[in-house]
Amino acid sequence: MVPMAEITLQPEVVPVKKMKTQAGAFSRVMRYTLLRVFTLFVTVVIGIYLTILIANMGGYVDQIQRGQIREDVQQLARNDPSFKSLTAEQRTTRMEDMIRLREKRIGLDQPFAIRSFRFLSNALTLNLGWAQNMTSDSGSRQVRNIMLERLPPTLLLFASSNILLFIFSVLIALSLSRRYGSTFDRIIISLAPTGSAPGWFYGIFLIVIFAAFLRVLPYGGMVSAPPPENSFDYFLSLMEHLALPVLAITLSTIFLNAYNWRTFFLIYSSEDYVEMAKAKGLNSRMLEQRYILRPTLPTIISTFALTLISLWTGAPILEGVFNWPGLGRTLLQAVGQYETPVIVGSTVIFAYLLALTVFLLDFVYALVDPRVKVGGGSKHT
């Protein structure tokens, strides 16, 4: 949904004369990977710092901290027998004293510029204190537990749909480039503008058709209630619930992807070496795999990265529409209940997920593109 133009994520691409050995390839990818991990980590740190600045402009992070201290002290007072003998007034003054001391200890009396760096390290470790009303299914009110518990469903949904999306887009794009100009090709091209609508939007239509009207698939959720005990039935129920959200994500981007990638395939298939290979009499399967798909893959992966980033952006709403118990729905609930720590935590975790996505794709990119070298130093001429 975040509008993106064509963009390349790869670092400096330096042509290399010749690939040396297998070990050389390994160390190349390793060095590249380490460098990417480092730069991405720096990027994430900056990103989260910005997030903290945004969140704190109204003093909200302070509020989280103060709230946590107050709750800690109250908890302590409830459990401490020496408090019981005090009058109500004494008790409050003593509690206020303790609160003030603790606030001083974690530096709430210091200027924000200094404190913000401690928030940063807390946010990076998701150490965001306790939620006011929300709890995780295991009963914990710690923001980290709430978030981490919701992570697997989100990963399941998005990993499965993105893998499907990638495979089907490549297959469709390849077959389109094979019969360029055919009716099938025209149909897909005219469907490409449907990519302007986000996944949740198609989700609504899919729910109307498959859940409300045909009644073949569930409206939402992750497993049927009560969850099946036998693990095979559980798996089946999971698949049934996964079908519509995955279909919604796929529908929203597949035609646009197929259209864009088909263009890449067509550009690469008009290269001289492809003509040469054709002239040598290679069969079309070999031609496609080695001469067209292979060189196009890096370009495809870097555009796919952008698709993925915009899909992550749409995640909360998609999960909300399908009632999928993931991070996005948690964020929605947090918005509804005004749970500041959870909102900040979700933002941080989404930043991590985005960085992870970018990193994974960079890694795959380095694997498929032998020209990728870690920049600087060894420039060949």
Partner: protein, 445 residues
């Protein structure tokens, strides 16, 4: 410039561009009509108004046009107010007035209305007027509805009268009074009904007026929601909001992005480097959660959200595309010439660099619009819609939140969704063709 016009003329060769443009023109016409017909304050009043504005419309009623596809039409809503033409006032011996309000209405539907209500107003000092209501059915029966002493302002809702229910043998009044007692068909008698309200006043200047409302199952061209509001207002007002949000956001982001890319390329060095690093950071900033944060902590006004959207998208991926083009343009001889005659840096950026990229920019601008239109809807679905304005996204949110999908009220969700779809498709179709025309690399494909 001539080239540019020629390219635009080329659009006519593409049916999808023509269709897209036609849809855009239609949407713009609707938007202009809406702003003129329902001014902003009126729209807000209607949308924020509760029962006092919408007491005459039925709850969750389907749009009227759905009747076109039904053999057995669903009842339509109507309301009749008492006025001198249907009120007969007679004075009795003691100087008191008797008001007789006769409300004839035709009922020719195969199903029952949702509800019937009488809104009664009276003026008196001590002694309440006394009303008795009766209904004359087409088959000649007279049904006594109710008799009671009238408050100054009173609402009589037929289905909530338990005595009437008992008199009708346990049938809900809004069905029971229409039901044919001789047939077991369970259908209402069709024909002319006459509702009479007799009110006896016991004071000289005492006055009585009534309004009869029959709540049908269909209302308005767009139906109504769970608060009896006419969805037509929201669907109409959604058009100018969606268009202006989409257009402003797309314009704002593309223009600022373009200027930043041009400045970075022209000045080079650390400026360029900084811009590239910021772009990288921006890529991992979670866009929607940050918007949610801003919406929750600061303001939900659509214009604040618009501003933040633009700010977050300035350093979007488009910078990299523009950069590549500017890097090429920078080396052109005419830039050299401009430098030679001594034009300043900003002059070169604004007058010589930026205009060169406009052909690339136009298709991008048009294809960006739908993504922002959907963004506005997405925010509304997240519950961060503008608090006062009716938008398509908010209608969808209300529908989802009130279980429209589970209860089969598809019109509620599908109408705004289809409008969103049309807007998105229109701009996307035009944008795709513009992209082909302005980017010759794609032309052959």
């Amino acid at each position: 410039m001539n080239n540019f016009l020629r390219s635009l003329r080329e659009l006519r060769q593409y049916p999808s561009a023509v269709a897209g443009s036609a849809m855009i023109v239609a949407l713009v016409v609707i938007a202009i009509y809406t702003i003129i017909a329902i001014p902003y304050t009126e729209a807000v009043r209607l949308w924020r108004g509760g029962e006092d504005v919408w007491y005459r419309s039925p709850l969750n009623a389907q749009p009227t046009w759905t009747n076109l596809f039904r053999r057995d039409k669903l009842p339509e809503s109507f309301h009749i107010t008492s006025d001198p033409s249907n009120t007969v006032i007679t004075q009795n011996d003691e100087g008191y007035n008797e008001f007789v309000v006769t409300i004839p209405f035709e009922y020719r539907f195969a199903s029952f209305p949702q509800e019937l209500a009488l809104y009664l107003d009276s003026s008196y000092i001590d002694k309440q007027p006394y009303v008795s209501i009766a209904l004359h059915t087409p088959d000649g029966r007279d049904i006594r509805i109710a008799d009671f002493g009238l408050e100054r302002s009173q609402t009589y809702i037929f289905s909530q009268d338990s005595r009437l229910t008992r008199r009708l043998g346990g049938l809900i009044p809004n069905e029971g009074i229409f039901l044919n007692p001789e047939l077991d068909s369970g259908t209402p008698i069709q024909g002319e009904y006459v509702l009479t309200m007799k009110a006896l006043t016991f004071e000289k200047d005492s006055n009585v007026s009534a309004e009869f409302v029959l709540y049908g199952e269909v209302a308005g061209w767009a139906g109504t929601d769970h608060m009896r509001r006419d969805l037509g207002v929201a669907l109409l007002w959604g058009t100018p909001i969606a268009l202006s949000f989409g257009l402003l956001a797309a314009l704002g982001t593309t223009i600022t992005t373009m200027i930043i890319a041009a400045v970075g390329v022209w000045y080079g060095g650390w400026v360029d480097n900084l811009i590239q690093r910021v772009t990288e950071v921006n890529l991992v900033l979670p866009f929607l959660p940050i918007l949610i944060m801003v919406g929750t902590f600061y303001s939900r006004s659509i214009w604040v959200i618009l501003g933040v959207t633009i700010l977050l998208s300035i350093f979007g991926g488009a910078i990299i595309t523009y950069r590549a083009v500017f890097l090429q343009v920078k080396e052109s001889p005419y830039i050299e010439a401009a430098r030679a005659y001594g034009s300043g840096n900003m002059r070169i950026v604004m007058i010589y660099l930026i205009p060169r990229i406009i052909p690339l920019l136009i298709p991008q601008l048009v294809t960006l619009i739908p993504s922002y239109v959907f963004l506005e809807a997405s925010l509304a679905v997240l519950g961060l819609g503008d608090p006062v304005l009716p938008t398509w996204g908010k209608v969808i949110t209300d529908a989802l939140a009130n279980g429209a999908l589970y209860q089969g009220q598809y019109y509620w969700i599908l109408q705004p969704a289809v409008l969103l779809m049309i807007t998105g498709l229109a701009f996307a179709m035009l944008g795709f063709v513009l992209d082909r025309i302005f980017n010759p690399r794609l032309r052959g494909l």
